[in-house]
C-alpha cells in the first residue's frame, strides 16, 4: 500500500520525471533493492553459463549418454556421471531418512515439551553445531564413525539383515551408509533449529483450542501444532537436503571414493561434489577437465530438480491438509 501512495503512478513517462521521482527515498530504495534481487538471478544465470561453456567438449562428445554411462577412466578419456549421481542421491536420501525423524522429534520436544530454560540452552548448542566446519565432521567421522561402522554397526547389520541386498558384501567402515550418517548429523542442526522456530510461531490460540476440545497435550501437538508449522518444517528439510547434496569434504573423507555402483549400502561409493574436489586440481587433458565441469552442471540441475520436486510435494500435501481440516 505504501508504494501506491509515494508513487505518482499517472505521471507521464520520460527521463525528467524519472529523475524527479528519484528524489523520493522510497523510489531509490525500490531501485536499489530490485538491483540487488536481480543480481541473485544474474549470478545464477552466470554460473549456468560458465558451466555450460566450459563443459562443451564433454557435452559434445558424450551427449546425454554422459548421464547414464558408468565409465570414469581418465586414462582412456571415458567419462560418465551415473555412479556419482547415484552416490549423491543415495547418501542424501539416507541422510534425510535418519535426520528428519530425529530432527523433527527434537524440535517438537524443544518447542512444545521442554521447559523454556532447557530449550534455549539446547538451542544454543544446536546452533553451535551448525557452525562447525565440515572438515571437522569429516575428521570426527574418520576417527569414530568409520571404526564403529567397521567393527560394530556394519557386522551387526550384515548378521541380522544380511538377507537384504542393501546389507551385503565386505564391510570397510567407509561407504554410502557412513556418508549418509555423517550427512544426517550435519543436517540435523538446520532441521532442528528451523523446525523449532516455526513450531514456536504457531499461535497459542491453536493449542488452547485443541486442548479445549478435549485433546491431550500430544494430540494437540501432533494434530494441530505440527500441521500448522508444516511449511516451516518442510523448509528446514529442504535446507538440510541442499546441504547434503552439495556437501564435499566430510563425504569424500568417509565414502570410500569408488566410482562404481553397488546395491549394498555398506559398499564404498562416490558423490559428484567429492569427485570434483578430488580430481579437479590435477585433471590432465581438456576432456577430463570439461567432464568434471559437466558433472558440476549435473549437480546444479540435480539440485534444481530435487528442489522442484520437493516444492511440488509441499503444494500437494498442503492442499490435502487444508481440505481435511
Amino acid at each position: 500500500m505504501a508504494t501506491s501512495v509515494t508513487l505518482p503512478a499517472h505521471s507521464p513517462p520520460g527521463a525528467r520525471s524519472f529523475f524527479k521521482r528519484l528524489t523520493s527515498g522510497d523510489e531509490i530504495a525500490r531501485l536499489v533493492t530490485t538491483l540487488f534481487a536481480s543480481l541473485i538471478l544474474l549470478l545464477t544465470l552466470g554460473i549456468v553459463w560458465e558451466l555450460w561453456i566450459h563443459s562443451t567438449l564433454a557435452r559434445e562428445k558424450f551427449g546425454f549418454g554422459f548421464l547414464t554411462s558408468t565409465a570414469w577412466n581418465p586414462v582412456t578419456d571415458q567419462f560418465g556421471a551415473f555412479p556419482f549421481i547415484y552416490g549423491t542421491v543415495i547418501t542424501s536420501v539416507l541422510a534425510l531418512l535418519i535426520a528428519v525423524p530425529l530432527g523433527v522429534g527434537a524440535a517438537i520436544f524443544l518447542a512444545e515439551l521442554a521447559p523454556p530454560r532447557i530449550s534455549s540452552a539446547f538451542t544454543f548448542f544446536i546452533e553451535l553445531l551448525a557452525a562447525v566446519p565440515s572438515v571437522i565432521y569429516g575428521l570426527l567421522a574418520i576417527f569414530t564413525l568409520v571404526p564403529l561402522m567397521r567393527d560394530s554397526i556394519g557386522p551387526f547389520l550384515k548378521a541380522r539383515l544380511g538377507f537384504l541386498p542393501i546389507f551385503t558384501g565386505p564391510v570397510f567402515g567407509v561407504g554410502y551408509l557412513t556418508a549418509g550418517m555423517i550427512l544426517a548429523i550435519m543436517t540435523l542442526p538446520f532441521i532442528i533449529s528451523i523446525s523449532r522456530d516455526s513450531l514456536l510461531e504457531v499461535p497459542t490460540e491453536q493449542r488452547e483450542a485443541a486442548l479445549a476440545l478435549g485433546a491431550t497435550r500430544w494430540e494437540s501437538t501432533w494434530h494441530v501444532v505440527v500441521p500448522y508449522a508444516r511449511l516451516g518444517i518442510f523448509g528446514s528439510i529442504f535446507l538440510g537436503l541442499a546441504r547434503a547434496l552439495g556437501e564435499t569434504m566430510a563425504v569424500t573423507m568417509v565414502i570410500g571414493n569408488d566410482p562404481s555402483i553397488h546395491a549394498s549400502l555398506l559398499s564404498p561409493g562416490y558423490t559428484i561434489a567429492a569427485i570434483i574436489a578430488n580430481e579437479f586440481a590435477e585433471a590432465t587433458g581438456d576432456l577430463y577437465l570439461q567432464s568434471l565441469v559437466a558433472l558440476a552442471l549435473v549437480l546444479f540441475v540435480l539440485t534444481i530438480v530435487i528442489n522442484a520436486l520437493a516444492r511440488l510435494l509441499i503444494i500437494a500435501t498442503t492442499r490435502r491438509g487444508s481440505s481435511q481440516a
Binding site: A71, W72, N73, P74, V75, T76, I142, V146, P147, R150, P170, F172, G173, V174, T252, M253, G256, N257, D258, P259, P268, A274, A277, N278, E279, F280, A281, E282, A283, T284, G285
Partner: protein
Amino acid sequence: MKKNGLWLGAFGALALLLAVAEPVLLAKVLINGAGATFPEVIYTKWFEEFPKKYPDSQINYQALGSGAGIRQLTEGTVDFGASDMPMTDAQISKLKVKPLHFPTVLGGIVPTYNIPGLKQDLKFTPAVLAGIFLGKIKKWSDPELTKANPGVKLPDTDILVVHRSDGSGTTFVFTDYLSKVSPEWKTVVGSNTSVKWPVGIGAEHNEGVAGLVKQSPNSIGYVELIYATQNKMGYGAIQNAAGTFLRADLGSVTEAAAGAAKNMPDDFRVSITNAPGKQAYPIASFTWLLVPSKFADAEKKKVIVEFLRWMLTDGQKYAAGLSYAPLPKEVVAKEEKAIALIQ
C-alpha cells in the same frame, strides 16, 4: 598524555618503516610460480633462502597441484610452473613459448600396509604388487606373496587396497611403474594422475591413505617416501629391475636417477621408474620446474637463471634435511648446460 605520546611514537615508527621499505619493495623483481604440491616444502625453503643471496628478487610459489601448474603456465598467469610429471607433447603444443623442464629433486613411493601381528618388513616383487592392485591377488596368504617372503607367516585374510582418491603426481608415478612392470596393468588400467582402479577404496592425500591403512586391518596402500619417513611408518621393500629387494631411502632414490641419466633425453622429460642399477629404487621420480624458454622481461630472466644455478648447487644441500632425494651429479651437469637455452 602519556598514552598519546606512545601512539604518536608508534605511528612515527610505522611511517619511517614504510618510507624505508617502499623503495626496497619497488626495486624487487617479483616472480610468480605455481604447481606441484609434493616439492612444496623444499620450494618454500628455496624461495625463502634464495632472496637472501639475491636481495633484488622475490619468488612466490603456490602449491596448487601439478595439473593446475601446467594450466596456469599455459594461460600465462604465472612466470613458471612446477609439475610432478613431464608435460605431454599435446600440452606443450598449446604454449606459445616452449617450456623447458628442469628436474629439481626426487621422490620415491613406498608400499605401506597393516597386517596385525606382523613384525618383519614385507618384500614385494613387481608381479605381486601389480597383482594386488589389479585385484588378482586377493589374500595375504597368496603363494606368490609367501614365495617372496620365506619364513614370514602371512594371514589367510582378504587384502583391502587403499589408493589415492585425489588426482596426484604420486598416483601418476605409481601407476607408471606398474604399467612398466606389468603388461596387464598397462592394458587394463594404464597410468595417469587418476585412474580407474580395479579394486579398493580411495582416500585423500598421503595422510588419508596412511590413516585408512593404519585403521583398517589387512590393508595396503602407497604413500610418498617423505611422508612415510616423517611419520615413522613401516613400509615394504620392492624388487628392482636388477633383481635386488630394496627398501626405499634417499640414496636409492637418487641412484634411480643416476641409473637413468645415461639415457636421459635433452629435454629431461623422462620417467625413471623401474630404472636400471643394482641400488636403484624402482618407484622414483623427478619433480620438474617448467620454465618458459623465452622471457620478454630481461630482469625476470636474470633472476630465473640465477635461481636455477643456485638451486643446482647450494639449493641441493637443503634437500636431504627435508627428506627429499637430491639430484645425482650427472643430472646436475646436464641441467647446467640446459640453462643456456633460456632466452
